[in-house]
Assembly symmetry: C2
Homo-oligomer: 239 residues x 2
Amino acid sequence: MTQQAERTRRIPLSRDRVLTAAVALADEAGIEALSMRRLAQRLGVVPMALYKHVANKEELLDGMVDVLVSEIDPPVRGAAWNDAVRLRVLSARNALLRHSWARQVLESRNNKSPAVLGYMDSFIGMFLAGGFSIDLTHHVMHALGSRMWGFTQELFQDSGGGAAAGPADLGPEARAAVFREMAERYPNILKVATVSAHEDSVAGQGCDDQFEFEFALDLLLAGFERLHRQHWSSTPAKP
Amino acid sequence: MTQQAERTRRIPLSRDRVLTAAVALADEAGIEALSMRRLAQRLGVVPMALYKHVANKEELLDGMVDVLVSEIDPPVRGAAWNDAVRLRVLSARNALLRHSWARQVLESRNNKSPAVLGYMDSFIGMFLAGGFSIDLTHHVMHALGSRMWGFTQELFQDSGGGAAAGPADLGPEARAAVFREMAERYPNILKVATVSAHEDSVAGQGCDDQFEFEFALDLLLAGFERLHRQHWSSTPAKP
DNA sequence: ACCTGAACACCGTTCAAGT
DNA sequence: ACCTGAACACCGTTCAAGT
């Protein structure tokens, strides 16, 4: 027992061990619970010990993104560019869905680590291999934006806590009142919400995020293809 | 002097005054500098006084979003849906560009305030007024995602601090070394970066964010239009 | 040379004591 | 009834003192 505890403590801290523990902690307890102090405690070391392996918390978060990137499948070889891009994005999405903190952390990052640059580079490579001009590839990457990572800023997301849609723990008459209020103030939202929920309740099932994600992705991919076929260029043609 | 200071202190704190001050503080000092304590200090009150007008910091941030929404122009009347949507998004973008904290705060919000719901409702209304089916409108809103607010997660953004592109304060020989290193490790990124910078430097001008934003927006709008003309539906046709 | 306890300068928020 | 000082339970990070 004491021996085991000692052995655990013996394993020298490494950047890898720190990052893996940080990912695990964020996975389990949420990103808001990830603090240098808690992480140190989890690793059985004093907080300061972490600063041997990451310069500060920012670098810790960058490192967590690297872990994430390592979980994304490499591009499929020999596929058409559309398929290659599509599969890769969906693979990234899978990795992201495994880590609830990923979206928020990716959004907050500014500096790109080598791993992130590597991912972007190989991503760009898929378009170039498909015959896209560098110019079009450039704008196409911008258009994809964070969709490259497999997520979009979800508008209707009621993720997060449990008290999402508000009228969850209300009586039926109170719910009806909320419903009437909504119908009056936000008639358009209500139309959309009810048609997608197949129920006369605003707090209905919500949306199929995966469907929505692929809907927008495919819309963009179709647009890219069209521009590509037309030999679109951002600068006036000059042969 | 003392009289003036006293008068300033006399103005009773209100939710409006708190939110306006919070926006101003975040505008000037950055969102990371916005703390309840600093805000209180700026208003000449004790921190606790703020909690009379906002329940907690989350609600303060929600309120700041409301201020932002109030700065977005209402939809143009009598225009075609494409123009109406386009102008509205660009108006939102202008409001956003005036507040450097807006993107990050919007991204972090989960609960929708009445002001946000109102904006979404009127936004949805533009598509419905254009003859879009509720079904298509629903998915179209998802596809737009945060673009509704006038922003995208910028991939190549080197905004933020000053030490952006890395080799900014290096000598020319060191820069060349970084360049060769980049060329070897990230050949595709380099191609895109150099073609868009018109210079053999990775730390070149960067991208025209406004162009990129409109490029993707117009691509999506064109896709929406096509689906609309085809009477696209997410469920199998059943007349 | 390495490690770490204590300390610093902050947070958001609670709560009981003051007017 | 209102307001607020002090306190609580945290942060990330520094730094000098210990081994």
